[in-house]
């Protein structure tokens, strides 16, 4: 076999012909020399050469790569036949493109997010460490506990503490101020992870001390964006929160710890005070450690638990100390939230692909039926069965390959879209299409081609050549076996569709339930923006109070502003933290027991701005500031939990070493849409303790237009103060429920797609059956059968596989929905309305799909039908 010769067979052949001609000439002239006549000489030469065509054919075959030639020939044949039925080809390609596209897209996400290890050395040994409080197994870490862990543990080769801090990056030369997410961490964070800065160096333990020079590491993107990627940035000074920091390094481009939102890393012991770093109950930190080799996760966990418990027992008076520790692998910690939804979506796309394959197989069976006569004739003329089978496989391969390539393009678009829209998705920065994904797509294409062609071949004529010719010629009630196969395929298709529809229905219902939850406050036309107070001008509470006062006064004076307030967090924004309190008038709590409730700071107008009703008493007295501001407002849940059957107004709470008088009770609000309202204690903004929070603005219309004027007001007050997270309440809530809506929307999309495919399948099968039975129906009508009866019969015929599929699908769903139980909110997996709606909807679609072919069959003109056959 020679590739060059194979590709230029035509030219070779021409040369062989000339070579043979030259042989004839030579032989002829020799024969002439022997004294033959010219005619005889030529005749004898030809006899000697034999059949030149045979020689040529032999050489042609010798130069042919047999398999390749066969494939090429069937490929050309398939292209020709497909061109003759463009409808079928377009349908099959589209179906495959959607099926393969969805799978490749989701596989890309799953591979990059869940399957790829984190980019750290020996990442399987990296563990996130949490405190176990008894009630919460994964509570954030207190620095004092961390110190004990570091001192006593024997399980970790490195254990690092870090905290999220907000940093305001400003510059002397009038550059735009910017709020950045930063990580304050111990010096061993990078060594523990096994990472080194791309530029410059990590900070030392000497720099990770109170009073040391302030140093910072920048993220690659921040360095590129703000400092033009200038390598001279190392040892330069920047302003963070109006303090001077020396940049000592830039992290590698891929580095995103804990995630891609963080842009600066700095020493934790320099940022927090020495006193704060010894606190045993200040649960605001996270910890990550690298296990020693040979130490298992559970061994390390019991090690830390023993240490924590010892500290707990040594301080019986401090109720804030946890009783144990929990370890979670870092990868699990990073992607734990998205794991289950992703696998469920992947399973859903798998179903869609299966349905797509069944549909294409169905189309192929129909095609094989239509081409039965042609195939039978070709078989009769000596085409080998293998050849015909190969052709079928080639056809499937061609359709799936074209569909698959279109699908990969679709997937590329889908992945781009996902990365753009889901910035908050864990590890979204790692998602991209790579070689493995392309290999996956190729594998999928081959698999689908094999699957569809094998299914379609199940219906091949087998050895009954003669019968096929006869049947095709007479068009009597033919292809029963084939129709049965198609019905089975259809039933499976419908069954899978039902499962998808029910899963999607349950998620949609959950999402609707979630969105229908009342937050407990107004969400219409409310704008929020984040403002943090940094620097020397806001060192003491009085300065902060002055700023808040000035800010609120000016914002309230803007035209269009109905109300404006400042608070730590708004309802629906999350839990946000709590603190301990005691009721002064109640008997003291037993030793080692503490009461916690969510704590919020707000100004006196907050409840009015947010539309939270004051139920009893009143809000804060706005004239009381600083130490005079000693009032507290509680919500109903707080009153219910801690003052059952009591009047809370006038009672006192002991909170942060001070006594606060309860001035009022306000309505309940939810910290998250999916959570029941929890007790909240509100403290006055004008104590000046709050160092940053949300400015809330309510307007009667188009509140977003106010964003710019308000930002101008802030800039007038402080040129270096960045405003971030400018969001309306609806946008803020949309972010919170994004996961639920995302999953529900995608699953609903897949379910709708499969419903469409199933409907097309039902329509196709019944049309086919009706066409096959034209003759029979014609005779029956001619003999006096009533058309309604024919209609009913055809309808029943078409609906039977759909109904079988529906019943099987419902049964399967009852089992499958258990898998998504944890993704549901206030919705039972076996929700009867969802099941009923899906059953009714599917039946309606099936009837609609059957109606046209059944109607056509019933309207048949018997004379014409009989004449045609």
């Amino acid at each position: 076999m020679n590739w060059m010769r194979f590709l230029r067979r035509g030219r070779e052949d021409d040369e062989v012909r000339r070579e043979l001609d030259s042989y004839i000439e030579e032989e002829t002239s020799e024969n002439l020399a022997r004294g033959m006549t010219a005619e005889e000489a030529r005749r004898q030469a030809r006899i000697k050469l034999g059949n030149p065509e045979q020689v040529r054919e032999r050489l042609w075959r010798q130069n042919t790569v047999a398999i390749f030639d066969g494939v090429w020939r069937s490929l050309r044949y398939c292209c020709r036949t497909l061109r003759r039925s463009p409808g079928f080809a377009a349908m099959a390609v589209t179906v495959m493109a959607l099926g393969i596209g969805a799978n490749v897209a989701l596989f890309t996400v799953v591979r990059n997010v869940l399957l790829k290890p984190l980019p750290y050395r020996d990442q399987g040994r990296l563990m996130s460490a949490y405190e176990h409080t008894g009630a919460y197994p994964m509570n954030v870490v207190a620095p004092g506990i961390y110190t004990e862990w570091i001192r006593a543990n024997r399980s970790f080769s490195g254990l690092s503490l870090y905290a999220w801090v907000g940093m305001n990056l400003s510059s002397h030369d009038g550059g735009m101020p910017e709020k950045l997410n930063a990580i304050a961490c111990t010096a061993n964070l990078l060594p523990t992870l096994g990472v080194e800065p791309a530029l410059g160096r990590n900070f030392t333990t000497d720099e990770d001390r109170p009073g040391a020079n302030r140093v910072a590491l920048l993220s690659w993107s921040l360095w590129q964006r703000r400092f033009g990627g200038n390598p001279g940035i190392v040892n330069q000074e920047i302003l963070l929160n109006k303090d001077v920091y020396t940049v000592i390094g830039v992290m590698p481009k891929w580095f995103a710890f804990p995630d891609a939102a963080e842009q600066i890393w700095m020493p934790v012991n320099r940022y927090f005070s020495a006193q704060e770093m010894t606190r045993l109950g200040m649960h605001e930190f996270a910890a990550v450690g690298r296990l020693n080799s040979g130490v298992s996760q559970s061994q390390a966990q019991s090690d830390l638990t023993a240490i924590t418990l010892r500290v707990h027992n040594e301080h019986p008076d401090n109720a804030l100390i946890s009783i144990g520790a929990t370890l979670n692998p870092l990868l699990e910690d990073t992607v734990g939230d998205v794991k289950k939804p992703l696998y469920i979506l992947l399973a859903a796309t798998g179903c869609v692909l299966l349905i797509a394959c069944l549909n294409v197989a169905n189309l192929l069976v129909a095609r094989a039926a239509a081409r039965r006569k042609e195939l039978a004739i070709r078989a009769a003329l000596g085409s080998s069965r293998l050849r015909l089978l190969g052709e079928r496989l080639t056809e499937s391969l061609l359709l799936t390959a074209v569909g698959g390539i279109a699908g990969v393009a679709l997937a590329y678009g889908a992945v781009q879209w996902l990365v753009r829209t889901r910035q908050n998705f864990d590890r979204v920065e790692a998602i991209h299409i790579d070689g493995a994904v392309v290999a996956f797509a190729a594998g999928l294409i081959v698999l689908c081609a094999l699957f569809t062609s094998v299914i379609a071949s199940l219906s091949a004529t087998g050895g009954k050549l003669f019968a096929a010719l006869q049947e095709a010629g007479r068009g009597s009630s033919a292809g029963r076996a084939r129709a049965r196969l198609r019905r089975t395929l259809l039933a499976i298709e419908v069954g899978l569709t039902v499962v998808l529809l029910i899963a999607a229905g349950l998620l949609i219902k959950s999402y609707a339930r979630l969105r229908a939850n009342e937050l407990g406050c107004t969400t219409k036309n409310v704008l929020t923006m984040r403002i943090n107070l940094f620097g020397d001008s806001y060192r003491d509470p009085a300065q902060r109070v002055n700023f808040y006062r000035a800010l609120l006064e000016r914002v309230r004076a803007l035209p269009g502003v109905e109300a404006a307030s400042f608070t730590r967090m708004v309802p629906g924004q999350g839990y946000g933290g709590d603190d301990a309190f005691t009721v002064v008038e109640h008997p003291p709590l037993p030793q080692g027991v503490a009461q916690f409730a969510i704590n919020r700071e707000a100004d006196s107008g907050f409840f009015k701005t947010m539309g939270i009703p004051v139920l009893r008493g009143q809000g804060f007295d706005p004239s009381r500031v600083l130490d005079q501001a000693n009032q507290v407002v509680i919500n109903e849940a707080f009153a219910r939990s801690y003052f059952p059957g009591e009047e809370p107004i006038g009672k006192h709470l002991h909170y942060r070493d001070k006594s606060w008088e309860i001035a009022g009770v306000v309505g309940d609000t939810r910290s998250e849409l999916s959570k029941e309202p929890e007790p909240i204690q509100y403290y006055p903004l004008f104590t000046g303790n709050l160092k940053g929070g949300l400015l809330v603005i309510r307007s009667s219309r188009n509140v977003e237009q106010l964003a710019l004027p308000v930002q101008h007001v802030v800039a007038e007050l402080d040129r270096d103060m960045p405003v971030s997270n400018v969001l309306t309440m609806d946008q803020l809530l949309g972010k919170e429920t994004l996961d639920a809506s995302f999953n529900a929307t995608l699953l609903a999309g897949f379910a709708a797609l499969s419903l469409l495919l199933a409907a097309a399948g039902i329509f196709g099968v019944l049309s086919y059956v009706a066409a096959q039975r034209t003759n029979e129906i014609g005779i029956r009508i001619a003999l006096g059968a009533r058309r309604e009866r024919i209609l009913a019969q055809m309808l029943f015929d078409g609906l039977r596989p759909a109904l079988v599929g529906l019943v099987c699908g419902l049964a399967a769903s009852a089992v499958v929905v258990r898998l998504i139980r944890s993704m549901l909110y206030e919705t039972q997996p076996l929700d009867p309305t969802v099941f009923a709606a899906v059953a009714a909807g599917l039946a309606a679609v099936a009837i609609a799909a059957c109606l046209a072919p059944a109607w056509r069959a019933a309207r048949l003109d018997p004379m014409q039908a009989l004449r045609e056959s």
Binding site: R5, V16, R18, S22, Y23, E26, Q54, V55
Partner: protein, 121 residues
């Protein structure tokens, strides 16, 4: 006339190749000459069928044992000439050795006492 033997079929394929290579030792030749030389040197016992000759020549060319060019024949006609390459020369030595071994082995089996000492030059 003795019955002519046509070197064809699986068993003799290698033999035909070997003989073609041997023929070309004397210099480049075209198909007609090659066939004639084989027939003449075998004292007209072997008859080369054209249906085997040309595929064999192409096969040898594919393997790089001969190369081809278009030239003028003795009668001044355009003809395709084949020339032994260095690789082909080496191959001829190998094939010849193998053939001699085979011929000797067959001879022994057939009970021939005296064996050709020289064989092909």
């Amino acid at each position: 006339m003795t019955k002519k033997i046509q070197p064809d079929g699986e068993m003799l394929k290698g033999t035909l190749d070997m003989m073609i290579l041997r023929t070309l030792i004397g210099g480049p030749a075209h198909g007609h000459t090659i066939a004639k030389i084989i027939e003449r040197t075998s004292e007209d016992v072997l008859e080369v069928e054209q249906g085997s000759l040309y595929p064999a020549l192409h096969r040898l060319e594919d393997r790089g044992w001969v190369s081809s060019y278009w030239g003028a024949s003795e009668n001044n006609r355009k003809a395709k000439f084949y020339r032994l390459t260095a690789v082909g020369r080496k191959q001829l030595v190998i094939e010849t050795g193998r053939w001699r071994q085979m011929a000797r082995a067959i001879g022994l089996v057939m009970g021939e006492k005296t064996l050709p000492a020289g064989g092909v030059r």
